[in-house]
Structures are given as structure tokens and as C-alpha cells.
């Protein structure tokens, strides 16, 4: 048995939430002279907290779901056979780790470690090229914006490079506001230098003089790691470009909780200290952006791709993926799957491979995936054979989006899902234009009526009528895409809408207004746990444990607490009668 050279604990946000802090502490107490380092996220979130033992023979041993106890730490230090983690073979075969290659494998804030693993080698290569050659290489790579819209990155850079003014701005969009997406958070937490290297290459190529990272305030660890990384790079003199006298300043600006600020013109307003409302384009930011200076905005994942392009070469990069979507895409896989996490796959992989082979969902238990968050749509299981790229998802009524991929199981209600997203966009609408402000609210109200059993066929007709009008009339991307969740569920799951309206039935038993709670007397052992836990006193033990469904708030407390699973949701009786 080889000796342990070094111990690494995954301490990105999800690792910490799973208890990695205690694991780190327990290991440090007993490790003696063996270094115990923090690493980022390897993307196997379901297995957190993860510990890696680097052995002197060059191999590694992994442990999953480690407990933060002294016993657990002692067992790991003894290289116990128990609890060892082997990366799922199916997933490893399908994944292509390019951009996330170093995530979770190195100490995120160590400049030396990043350099030792090929970091800043791309920057060196770039400095030997002219800025024009760099832009051309990015064009040749076929990289498209990873924020969701898929605009060719090289083209955007060429617009900025063409501006012959002394002051230009480059912004890294780290305002990852899509609920259900955490790719950018993980990249900033795990490989901050890679994102920053991409930004330096961008500044060299476009001539940008002011660099901003607009990061949402909900990501404190990402901000911390970026701040340390920027400081370290300054110390090492890595903030100087060969074609420039003044060193580059990279400023981190924290967002303040507004989804619409992910839209580029809104983000610019926010960076100027104003309300984050979008404005009409043109002029495009590359013509007039931050304080009227030419400005290019790229997403975190886009920047993280840049060093890779120059490491492996634009041609090799362009060889990965489909005809019009090159490279890999990082997806945040969550929802009704066994093994959620962050996965990096080549463009052109099928949805089914992600959901079933990587996520471990059982075929037949899933009815849809939701991509692109509130701007995206639901894709039904029958279409899971589709090869993922920007264009194929668009054809199905969804979008690639930034990479949130939520798997929706059979027991979820699609109308409720649409209602949820419209509630989100309605609240996040900035209120500037009527189509979005009023339109999303009216759509939400119709969906609310349907899910509460008060909907009519008119509501469905209304949704189908108003949705395209909002898409056409809204000023910015938020409003233009807000109807998508309703439109796509109406397209693929209209039967659920009809069941809610015509039969007052929610098949998934998810909509509280359309379900009753019932106790199965055959299973009930009369332990009264449900009676004690019910917050509204709706269960009467004197009356054979009957549930007063008029009182019941459908809070599920009794269902969770019942040791015999005798309590369950059933279709509302009065509606069927």
C-alpha cells in the first residue's frame, strides 16, 4: 500500500453544505505532516463530501459521503476499503472534461498549482500572436456564448477590437440568476484563474482597458476566490499585457438580486449605479456600453473555454461537437435524478444519455426536462433522443440557456411548473415595458386559476393568444422568453391543462386545490403521530382518523411523519362526485 502524499477535500458551496467543513477539520486533526488541502467541485454533487487521497505512487483513492467524525477521518487515513468512491463508468465514458478538467482537482486559490497544471500556458501562446490572430482563432474555434443565447464569441470580440478608441470595456457576466443553474458558481469557486486567464486573453485580443466581473452577491465563496486570485496574479505580474503599458485592473462588482441584470444592457446600467433596467438595442454595447464606452460582455463559462481553445488549438476544439455548436457544455443536472451534479459533455450528446446514463434516472419515471430556466422550456421524454445543441433545442421550443437542466419526474405537475416560472418572471420583470410587466402577470393569473381548479377553456385560449404577443413585443430577453415555459408545456402536455380545467384533476396530485389527504385504515396503526403533527387539527382520532379536508392545508406533515405510509394524497373527492 502506497503512502498518502496529500489529502484533498471538496469544499465548494455544495460540498460545504453537505458537511465538508467538519470533514476538513477532522482530517486536519489527525493528518500529522500530510497536507490537507481544500479543492473545488468535481461535479459529483450527490457524493459530497468527497475526499481524495493522493498516493505516493501517483494514483488517487476517493471517498464519498464522508462524515465529519474522528472515526471517519481515522478510517480514511488508514486507507480503509469501506466507503471508497469509484467514478460511475457510464458517466465517465460520456463526459468530456475539458473546461472543468481542473475543477476539484487543484487548490482553487493556488496560482502555483494552476500553473503546474498548464495554467497560463494559453496566455503565453496568445502573447506570441497578434490580437487579430487571437480573434481569428476564437472565430475558428466556433465558440458560442455560453450564457444562453449562443452568439459567436469571436464575432463579438471582433466588433470590440474594431473600435479604435483608447478606452474599452470588457465585462464578465457572472450574474447567474437562472434558478437551477450553478455552472458559473462552480467554475469561479473551483478554477478562478482559468476564468481570469480567459479575460486577460480577451483584453489582449480586443484592446479592452477596463475589466469588470459582475457577480451575484449570493455567491460569497466565488467572490472570495476571485478576489484572492486577482491579488495573486497582481503579485506575480500576470496583470500586464505585452502590448500595454498600464497594468490591467479587474474589478469585481456585486449584483444586488435582480434577475434582469443578466441582460447585458441592464447589467451595464447596474454597473453605472442605476436601476438595472434594460434599454432598446441598437446601439449595441460594443458601440455604446458602460458609460458610453464600447463594451463586450461574455459569460463566465465562455471565458473559461478560452484558455482551452489555445491549449488544444482552435482546430481541435472545433472538431468537438456538432456542425454549428462546438466544444463542450457544462450542465447543472438536478431534479428527479439519482446522481445530480455538474456534468461536462460534448455538444451533440443526447438528452437521454444525460438523464438516464449520467443522472441515473430510471426510464419511465421521467416525463420531461426543463432547460434554460425561466427563459427555457420543457422537453418531453419522447424527444430525449435529440442531439443537444443551440439549434436543436430551439426547434423543440426550449433553449440551451446557461445550462440548468432540471429533470421532472412523473409525479410532478407540468401546469404547476409553468405557473412557478411565470411567477418568477412576473416578479423579476423590471416593469419598464408593458408587454412584459402586464403580460407575465396576466399569464401567471391564468395559470394560477388553472392550478387552483378555477380555470376555464378561455384561460387556455388566452395563454395561447397572449404568449406570442409578449414574445414579439417585449423589450429585452427576459420578456421575449418569459412565455416559453407555458408555451412548451402547452405544446407537449396540453392534456394536463385540459384535465385541470375540464375534470378538475391534477394527475400528479401536486396542486393543493385539487387533492384531498386520506388515511388508509388498513395500514393505520393508530399511533396518533399524524394527529400530533397536524398544525390545523384536521385529523380526528375519535372519528376513525378521518381527515377534514376543508381544514387541511395540504402541508404534507402527516404524510412525512406516518411510520406506516398510511397517509397519502388522493384526487379530490368532491370534484369527482
Amino acid at each position: 500500500m502506497a503512502d498518502i502524499k496529500r489529502i484533498k477535500v471538496g469544499t465548494a458551496s455544495c460540498g460545504l453544505a453537505a458537511g465538508a467543513g467538519a470533514v476538513l477539520e477532522a482530517l486536519r486533526k489527525q493528518a500529522g505532516s500530510i497536507p490537507v488541502d481544500e479543492a473545488g467541485c468535481m461535479g459529483h454533487c450527490y457524493a459530497e463530501p468527497i475526499v481524495e487521497l493522493e498516493l505516493t505512487d501517483g494514483t488517487s483513492v476517493f471517498y464519498a459521503r464522508v462524515k465529519g467524525t474522528d472515526e471517519a477521518a481515522a478510517a480514511i487515513l488508514a486507507q480503509s476499503e469501506e466507503g471508497r468512491f469509484v467514478f460511475p463508468e457510464k458517466r465517465s465514458k460520456l463526459e468530456k472534461l475539458l473546461v472543468t478538467r481542473l475543477a476539484g482537482r487543484i487548490n482553487p486559490v493556488s496560482l502555483d498549482e494552476y500553473k503546474a497544471n498548464g495554467g497560463f500556458s494559453a496566455l503565453e501562446k496568445v502573447f506570441a500572436m497578434t490580437p487579430e490572430q487571437v480573434v481569428d482563432a476564437v472565430k475558428a474555434s466556433g465558440l458560442r456564448g455560453r450564457g444562453g443565447a449562443g452568439f459567436p464569441t469571436g464575432m463579438k470580440w471582433s466588433f470590440l477590437a474594431a473600435k479604435k478608441v483608447p478606452d474599452k470595456v470588457q465585462i464578465c457576466n457572472a450574474d447567474e440568476g437562472d434558478p437551477g443553474a450553478f455552472m458559473d458558481r462552480s467554475m469561479m469557486e473551483s478554477v478562478p484563474y482559468q476564468v481570469l486567464e480567459g479575460m486577460l486573453i480577451g483584453a489582449y485580443a480586443t484592446g479592452a482597458t477596463r475589466l469588470f466581473i459582475y457577480c451575484r452577491a449570493e455567491y460569497p465563496l466565488a467572490i472570495k476566490h476571485l478576489t484572492i486570485a486577482i491579488e495573486e496574479m497582481k503579485k506575480a505580474g500576470l496583470n500586464k499585457l505585452p502590448n500595454r503599458e498600464a497594468p490591467l485592473e479587474i474589478t469585481i462588482k456585486e449584483g444586488a438580486g435582480a434577475f434582469v441584470c443578466g441582460e447585458e444592457t441592464a447589467m451595464i446600467h447596474s454597473l453605472e449605479g442605476k436601476r438595472g433596467t434594460p434599454r432598446f438595442r441598437p446601439p449595441f454595447p460594443t458601440d455604446s456600453g458602460w458609460n458610453t464606452l464600447p463594451t463586450a460582455i461574455n459569460n463566465v463559462e465562455t471565458f473559461a473555454n478560452i484558455p482551452i481553445i489555445f491549449q488544444i488549438g482552435a482546430e481541435a476544439y472545433a472538431a468537438i461537437g456538432t456542425e454549428k455548436s462546438k466544444g463542450t457544455k457544462i450542465f447543472a443536472l438536478a431534479g428527479d435524478v439519482k446522481t445530480p451534479g455538474l456534468v461536462e459533455v460534448p455538444m451533440g450528446i443526447t438528452l437521454g444519455e444525460i438523464v438516464y446514463d449520467i443522472g441515473g434516472a430510471e426510464p419511465g419515471t421521467v416525463k420531461a426536462v426543463q432547460t434554460g430556466g425561466p427563459s427555457g422550456g420543457c422537453i418531453p421524454a419522447s424527444e430525449f433522443g435529440v442531439k443537444i445543441d443551440y439549434d436543436s433545442l430551439g426547434k423543440l421550443g426550449a433553449i440551451m440557456g446557461s445550462g440548468g437542466l432540471i429533470v421532472i419526474g412523473n409525479n410532478r405537475c407540468m401546469v404547476e411548473t409553468a405557473r412557478y416560472f411565470l411567477n418568477f418572471t412576473r416578479r423579476e420583470s423590471c416593469g419598464k415595458c408593458t408587454f412584459c410587466r402586464v403580460g407575465t402577470t396576466r399569464m401567471y393569473e391564468a395559470l394560477e386559476r388553472i392550478t387552483s381548479g378555477k380555470g376555464s377553456m378561455d384561460d387556455i385560449a388566452f395563454l395561447e393568444d397572449i404568449a406570442p404577443k409578449i414574445k414579439k413585443g417585449a423589450l429585452c430577453g427576459l420578456g421575449q422568453t418569459a412565455p416559453n415555459p407555458a408555451l412548451s408545456t402547452l405544446r407537449y402536455f396540453k392534456n394536463e391543462y385540459l384535465a385541470h380545467v375540464q375534470d378538475h384533476v391534477c394527475e400528479a396530485l401536486a396542486c393543493p386545490a385539487l387533492v384531498d389527504v386520506a388515511i388508509d385504515p388498513a395500514k393505520c396503526i393508530k399511533c396518533k403521530l399524524c394527529v400530533k403533527t397536524c398544525p390545523v387539527g384536521a385529523i380526528d382520532p375519535a372519528n376513525n382518523f378521518s381527515v377534514d379536508n376543508a381544514k387541511c392545508t395540504k402541508c404534507n406533515s402527516c404524510i412525512e411523519v406516518c411510520p406506516k405510509k398510511a397517509v397519502s394524497r388522493v384526487r379530490k373527492q368532491s370534484a369527482n362526485a
Binding site: S13, C14, L16, A17, A18, C45, Y46, E176, G177, D178, P179, G180, A181, F182, R185, A217, E218, Y219, K253, E254, G255, A256, G257, A258, F259, S270, L271, E272, G273, K274, R275, G276, T277, N291, A332, L333, A334, G335, D336, P340, G341, Q370, G373, G404, I406, I408, G409, R412, T417, Y420, F421, F424, T533, P535, T553, C555, N556, S557, E560, V561
Partner: protein, 151 residues
């Protein structure tokens, strides 16, 4: 300027830093009071109405004093799918307060947030930034009781 806010001097008085200034006030005070708005207006040299206009646009800023323990219940997509509506209702039932409210003893306040980015642990909530995942009724009660006991 109101000397209670003299720490605003840490922030360059450029308009582009207004949000940063307001974030500093909120970090120090827990919320942004009327006095805070007036101090920011003076520091950045812009009308108080404009400061309030910017402040109210962003969900992060609070106008009332939050509790000692700030609960953020995540209602992101993954959490929603995994039952965050129930979590939210249970928290309210346990503490007797609604969104944006603070308990009478000043101990707890709750808010619903869009996404904490810990989707793989859904459903989650955070208390003063510490994230608790894979919640169910039992674990939730246990967590809240721990904080209640701490006082």
C-alpha cells in the same frame, strides 16, 4: 453627514459605486434605514429619491431590520420541484411569521430567495449564509430548535 455612517468614506464617491455603498450600509446595519438613504445621497452627491429608486429596484436591499438569524428559503427550480413550498410553509408554521417578517423576540426573519445554487442538495435553506440541504420536516424542526436553543 450623519456620523453613524462615516464608514461610507471607504467607498469612492462615484455614482457607479452607489450599489456598493448601499451594500456596505446593509452589511453594517442589517438593513438600509431612512438615515442610511440620506447618508448615501450626501456621500454620492445625488438626490435621496434617486438613491431610494435604485435601492428598491434590487431585491437584496432590506428596508426593515432583520432578525438575528436570517433564514433564506430557496425556491429555485430544483428546490421547487423537490417541495420548497412545503418547506416554506413549515418554517412559517414553526416560527409564526411570514416572508419579510421578523419574530417578536428579534431572533428570526425569513425570506424566499430564487436560487442558492445548491440544486443538487434540494430542498435547501440557509441561515445567516450557512446552507442546510436535503430538508424534510424532521431535519427542519431539528435545525430550528438548535437555533432557538442558542438564542
Amino acid at each position: 453627514m450623519n456620523s453613524a455612517f462615516s464608514y461610507l468614506g471607504e467607498v469612492e464617491p462615484e455614482k457607479g459605486n452607489l450599489i456598493k455603498g448601499l451594500q456596505l450600509i446593509q452589511t453594517r446595519e442589517g438593513y438600509v434605514s431612512n438615515d442610511g438613504i440620506l447618508a448615501a445621497a450626501e456621500h454620492f452627491g445625488i438626490p435621496a429619491a434617486e438613491v431610494e429608486g435604485v435601492l428598491t429596484f434590487y431585491a437584496q436591499f432590506k428596508r426593515t431590520k432583520p432578525g438575528k438569524y436570517k433564514l433564506s428559503v430557496c425556491d429555485g427550480t430544483a428546490c421547487h420541484i423537490k417541495g420548497s413550498t412545503q418547506i416554506r410553509a413549515w418554517v412559517s408554521a414553526e416560527l409564526g411569521i411570514n416572508d419579510g417578517e421578523t419574530t417578536e423576540d428579534g431572533l428570526f426573519s425569513i425570506e424566499t430567495v430564487a436560487c442558492l445554487g445548491c440544486c443538487s442538495l434540494a430542498p435547501v435553506l440557509s441561515i445567516n449564509g450557512r446552507v442546510y440541504g436535503k430538508l424534510d420536516r424532521k431535519s427542519l424542526t431539528k435545525i430550528l430548535n438548535e437555533y432557538k436553543a442558542k438564542g
